[in-house]
Amino acid sequence: MKILVPIKRVADPDNANKVKVSADGTQVTTEGLEWKMNPFDEWALEAALRLTEDGAAKSRVGEVVLVSVGPKEAVATVREGLAKGAERGVIVEGNDNDLDSNVIAAALAAVAKKESPDLIVMGKQTVDGDSNVAGTVLADKLGWPIINYAMRIETSDDGKTFAIKRDLDVGVASVKVTGPVVITVSDSILHPESVKNGVTPADFKYPEAEGGRYASLKGIMQAKKKPIAEQTLSGLGVDAKRTVTYKKFELPPARSGQTTFVESVEELVEKLRTEAKVL
């Protein structure tokens, strides 16, 4: 089975207070930010690695190709994914400020056409733009089905068909789909028994992990030798003109940090109505 996993580097969400807006409010400045793999993409990578390995024997039985659309520095994020077990990487170079979900989806579609994977697994959104549309637009461009918010994935025919459970606000939806298909995952995909691929023993349980597996020193050293291909948007024939533009950025108002205790629910409701004016 061959899986394409789009990944993106994002400003470290744990250091969100370092995010600054340029003086004219037209863009978010990236200076001084620390970068890490988009957490949703970490989950997607974990799902893809589980689908393409024998978890008990710790051996690879398929191929995971990472693709990142972004600045050259994103190579560090791709290398991290390779160190966790993916086989190859592709970087499509682009300036973050020139990219929107449509451009990214077009670039991913172009790479997918070249790679012909059985499956694309990706995060449902990135924590910077939070648009939550790239996966769906990508599926549309490829003419493939899209299954959003997957929490369980089962396949037993090397990825030709999938039984998927979707994590929805109203409950769990079970679907069966024939590949190739685009799947976006929810955090429940990290459950110890969320992925069954017909190779890893059915009773095998992965360790509980907040963000999926870590790259070991051995993995980091092996990743140095794994190939990362460099592509350009024009080389892929992608129309790089963004269609969604941001008018203005502003930081949320600073919190006062003050806590007021109230004696009763009535008093709380009254204050929310008259002082906070949120009711």
Partner: protein, 383 residues
């Protein structure tokens, strides 16, 4: 001049930090693990073995014995991160005296297989028995004796302040084999197994939980196979590695100082007196400024010294300088940050309280500040 860490080191560091923050700190919270309570052995072992699996635990050991083969810069990077997270289990995850040390590389093939390999995998632990009631940094004065009787060595003597003594599966002990030569070919190193020695009194310090054990040897017969290296030269070999421990302590001190400064800054911005945050008061600002400046100085000393080591240059003096400056520095920083927290800083509920006690020992272990100054002065005067 390039101060950037390479890509692999950054990735290795970030993975370590993520592991500590995502797995170890929540585990500490769940299990109620803190500085003054013992880490249950089952948890410690699990953390060690996971650390070994990820390559953190024996990153500093040569590849020929199953280590990661990484240099001193990587070691100080990891030690600093461990300190920065304020995690107790992060210290378990990086080998201290209970784990693999470059000193163990002098073991022969059979000794590596039998003793070192399980320690590198995190399955077993060891200890380092050098100090005696009458011999600390002046280790050449040790009174423990090893005499050859037939095929075996017979050991008699008492070691003290031995970290991990009661839990270790084996230890390295130093004993005089030729009193006329002492440090010049008269002190040998032996591997001793747990059932070959007795645990005496366990001393408990002002912080921490493990206690430092007294180890007693009474006519202990040790086979020749447990002699380390060449007879009479174990001491000289061991001394060559003591400096690395000093540098690691300095790196940990830099990390903890940063952790404490971050706590102090956060609190200073929150805590209001007379209508504004104390962070706006000059008296508080100077404490923060001095601490940040001293951390910056210590961090650069430590990184530079580690770089010297990786270049294969003699950094004995610089290791002492780092140990001296960083441990004295973190003592000043914890004092200031406790002061910023005011009354709350002195309470058991506040993290500054436990660190105020636990950090005090850093100016004593692995050579007191005075010993470091003596060594620095000797190096300067010998020029």
């Amino acid at each position: 001049m390039d101060f950037e860490l390479n890509e692999e080191t950054r990735l290795f560091r970030d993975q370590f930090r993520q592991w500590v923050e995502r797995d170890l700190l929540p585990l500490e919270e769940k299990e109620g693990i803190h500085q003054d309570a013992p880490v249950p052995e089952a948890i410690a072992k699990r953390v060690r073995m996971q650390s070994a699996d990820l390559g953190f635990y024996a990153h500093h050991m040569p590849e020929e014995v199953g280590g990661g083969g990484l240099g001193q810069v990587v070691s100080v990077v990891l030690r600093e991160v461990a300190g920065q997270t304020g995690s107790v289990l992060a210290d378990v995850a990086l080998a201290g005296p209970e784990g693999p040390s470059p000193m163990h590389v002098v073991f022969n093939a059979a000794q590596r297989e039998k003793y070192l390999a399980p320690v590198i995998r995190g399955e077993q632990t060891c200890c380092f028995m050098l100090s005696e009631p009458g011999a600390g940094s002046d280790a050449q004065n040790i009174a423990t004796r090893a005499e050859k009787r037939g095929d075996v060595w017979v050991l008699n003597g008492t070691k003290h302040f031995i970290t991990n003594g009661p839990h270790a599966d084996w230890g390295v002990v130093f004993a005089t084999t030729d009193p006329s030569k002492r440090a010049r070919g008269g002190i040998s190193g032996f591997i001793v197994e747990r059932d070959q020695y007795a645990i005496g009194r366990v001393h408990h310090g002002m912080a921490g939980f493990e206690g430092q054990a007294e180890i007693v040897f009474e006519d202990v017969e040790v086979p020749e196979a447990q002699l380390i290296g060449k007879e009479g030269w174990g001491f000289a070999q061991a001394m060559g590695f003591l400096g690395n421990g000093r540098l690691n302590i300095a790196a940990g001190a830099v990390g903890v100082a940063q952790y404490l400064l971050d706590l102090g800054v956060e609190y200073a911005k929150e805590r209001q007196t007379f209508g504004k945050p104390i962070a706006e008061r000059q008296g508080i600002q100077w404490m923060i400024a001095d601490s940040a400046t001293e951390i910056y100085a210590a961090r650069n000393m430590v990184y530079h010294c580690a770089w010297l080591v990786d270049q294969g240059r003699d950094a004995t003096k610089e290791m002492s300088m780092c140990k001296l400056y960083a441990t004295e520095m973190v003592g000043r920083v914890v004092d200031r940050m406790l002061q910023i927290h005011g009354g709350m800083g002195w309470m058991r509920e506040c993290k500054t309280e436990a660190f105020y006690r636990s950090l005090r020992v850093l100016r004593i272990v692995e050579g007191t500040s005075e010993i470091q100054r003596m060594m620095i002065a000797r190096a300067e005067l010998a020029r």
